[in-house]
């Protein structure tokens, strides 16, 4: 059988660091980085005799995340201990949630090439992050930094509803975008504040039973996730096609070799011996509490998209693109209100801004200028002060030096020439230098006009008003 005869079945466990000021069970800061073991106290270092106290914001943020992903919210919930030994886990158990997660039975709708698809969310629970192990190349040992130990996480567990790597990426981007909008996490994958465990299995198309799954842990870039899924699904299909069986195991994806490696064998099958943490008390949420959080939720991407389509005249593609990131969407709204040309703003975001970010290998949250600057840029084009060719140069400049476009134009001397007399002179000069083009145009070759306009642009370093150039050339040529 060929690869096309198989279906890939995937589920994701997404870990997302919450952007609270302090850790989940103690008052240490959650700030990323810092000298090793300086964001620590006896509680997050698991000194004997210390007791955890739950951060109220962690519950609030988790409930927000649940409501924004259409989850049910538990009225009664608790924390449980997940027991395992690893040097980055100082208590030898992680405080997590087992049978009574804060949120359950939700979903998000994602855009796929075949249209919208609903991805089920089994549950969202709260838990603490582990510390970080550093290794040195001299083999002197490993070094434990507990700054991250106790940073609050939500784990979002999806149903095994994902079938293609495109769906996985769309689902992840959707979660990232929602959590950014509701401001419960900064979702910086480069800092590990959003990472995913991917469960992959394959089965013959039409089969009703799931195949045996493998789990790839702690993936933290879209690119690695997509590559890893592709590799792992093909590996499983090859094993089955060659008469083998898939073993349920945890795998490590290696980005350099582009392969997966077994981390633990089946014999060590995890048995976490969950039990309720006796150091913590029950969490009870009232209807009023949940209702208040519901009211505090900002406008979500779905609703913004609807508004962009219906009120601002964007295309489906543009509306999806712009709402895909809170940063794009906020910039779009601000810029549109400044210049009143939503369509043009969305085009700038989709094409040039996205392209430059991509070239710089940056994410929209790293944009240094705001909608105010972009709005002015569009206004300057619409008023004819600069051409769109110059605007592109101004935009490049804004990435380096986030000034108002009018200031950049002034400093660089890029103001468009719209003075008819000045342009007439250029037109005359270009025509004189290119008699062949005149002859070509008169012979019916319309392309010659484009060439002449191009020459005039070159002559004015792109500053001539293109509409005016066109008009004046035509006047001269048709004399």
């Amino acid at each position: 059988m060929a690869r096309e005869d198989y279906e890939i079945v995937m589920g994701l466990e997404v870990h997302c660091e919450l952007s609270t000021k302090t850790k989940i069970f103690c008052s240490c800061p959650t700030e990323f980085g810092g000298e090793p073991n300086t964001h620590c106290c006896p509680i997050c270092m698991a000194m004997p005799g210390t007791l955890p106290v739950l951060n109220e914001k962690v519950v609030e943020y988790a409930v927000k995340a649940g409501l924004a992903t259409n989850c049910q919210i538990a009225r009664k919930s608790k924390n449980d201990r997940k027991n395992y030994f690893y040097p980055d886990l100082p208590k030898a158990y992680q405080i997590s949630q087992f049978d009574l997660p804060l949120c359950y039975e939700g979903y998000v709708d994602v855009e796929t090439p075949e249209g919208e698809k609903r991805i089920g969310i089994t549950r969202i629970h709260i838990e603490e992050d582990a510390g970080k192990l550093n290794h040195d190349e001299y083999g002197r040992g490993s070094f434990v930094d507990l700054n991250r130990a106790g940073v609050p996480l939500i784990e979002v567990v999806s149903e095994p509803d994902l079938r293609t790597k495109e769906e996985v990426e769309a689902y992840l981007r959707k979660l990232k975008s929602i959590f950014e909008y509701i401001e419960v996490s900064d979702c910086k994958m480069q800092e590990g504040s959003l990472r995913a465990d991917v469960n992959v299995s394959v089965r013959k198309k039409g089969a009703t039973e799931f195949g045996t799954r493998t789990e790839m842990k702690n993936m933290n870039s879209f690119r690695s996730i997509v590559r890893a899924i592709e590799y792992e699904a093909n590996r499983q299909i090859d094993v089955i096609e060659n008469g083998g069986v898939i073993t349920q195991e945890t795998l490590r994806w290696d980005d350099v070799s582009g392969k997966t490696f077994s981390m633990r064998d089946k014999e060590d099958a995890q048995d976490y011996r969950y039990f309720p943490d006796p150091d913590l008390v029950e969490i009870r949420l009232s209807e009023e509490y949940i209702e208040n959080i519901k009211k505090s939720l900002p406008e979500l991407p779905e609703s913004r998209k609807k508004r962009y389509l219906e009120d601002m005249g964007l295309t489906e593609k543009a509306a999806n693109f712009v709402t895909g990131s809170k940063y794009y969407s906020n910039m779009f709204e601000e810029a549109s209100s400044v210049c009143g040309n939503a369509k043009s703003v969305s085009n700038w975001i989709m094409s040039d801004i996205a392209r430059i970010l991509n070239e710089r290998e940056e994410e929209p949250d790293e944009l240094k200028f705001s909608g105010k600057e972009l709005g002015e840029l569009v206004t300057l084009i619409d008023k004819g002060t600069i051409s769109s060719a110059i605007a592109k140069k101004v935009l490049e400049e804004m990435f380096k030096n986030p000034e108002m476009p009018s200031k950049i134009i002034e400093a660089k001397g890029w103001i468009q020439i719209s003075d008819e007399g000045a342009i007439k002179e250029v037109v005359a000069k270009v025509l004189e230098a290119n008699p062949q083009s005149i002859a070509d145009y008169k012979a019916g070759k319309d392309k010659a006009l484009g060439f002449l306009v191009g020459q005039a642009m070159k002559e004015t370093k792109g500053k001539a008003n293109p509409q005016m150039l066109n008009k004046l050339f035509l006047e001269e040529l048709n004399k």
């Binding site: 073991n37 608790k78 029950e282």
Partner: protein, 95 residues
């Protein structure tokens, strides 16, 4: 309900304990007895009792999300058997 020797070996492995044959035998008997003792609770009639999810009657004990930091780093690391660069030094971990 009896705890078999295999179960004792499994639990010991999870707890990173090495047990001798005699210990396995002894713990198997001890744990069986403990379970039997705890099983007595199953004879209580709970028909009209709501589900208990925590042993403590208190609920919603929360902390404000405010940074408090007044711990000396030296003090935190003072009992570490081995340390380097402000970190706990441990035998090399692979993976």
């Amino acid at each position: 309900m009896a705890i078999s020797k295999e179960e004792v070996i499994h639990i010991a492995k999870l707890a990173s304990l090495n047990l001798t044959e005699e210990e396995i035998e002894r713990y198997s008997n001890d744990m069986t007895e403990i379970l039997e003792f705890a099983n007595e609770i199953n004879s209580v009639n709970t028909d009209n009792v709501g589900e208990t999810i925590a042993a403590n009657e208190k609920y919603n004990v929360f902390r404000k999300d405010e940074i408090k930091q007044n711990v000396d780093k030296e003090a935190l690391l003072q009992n570490a058997p081995s340390k380097d660069d402000g970190m706990f030094r441990i035998p090399k971990v692979i993976n």
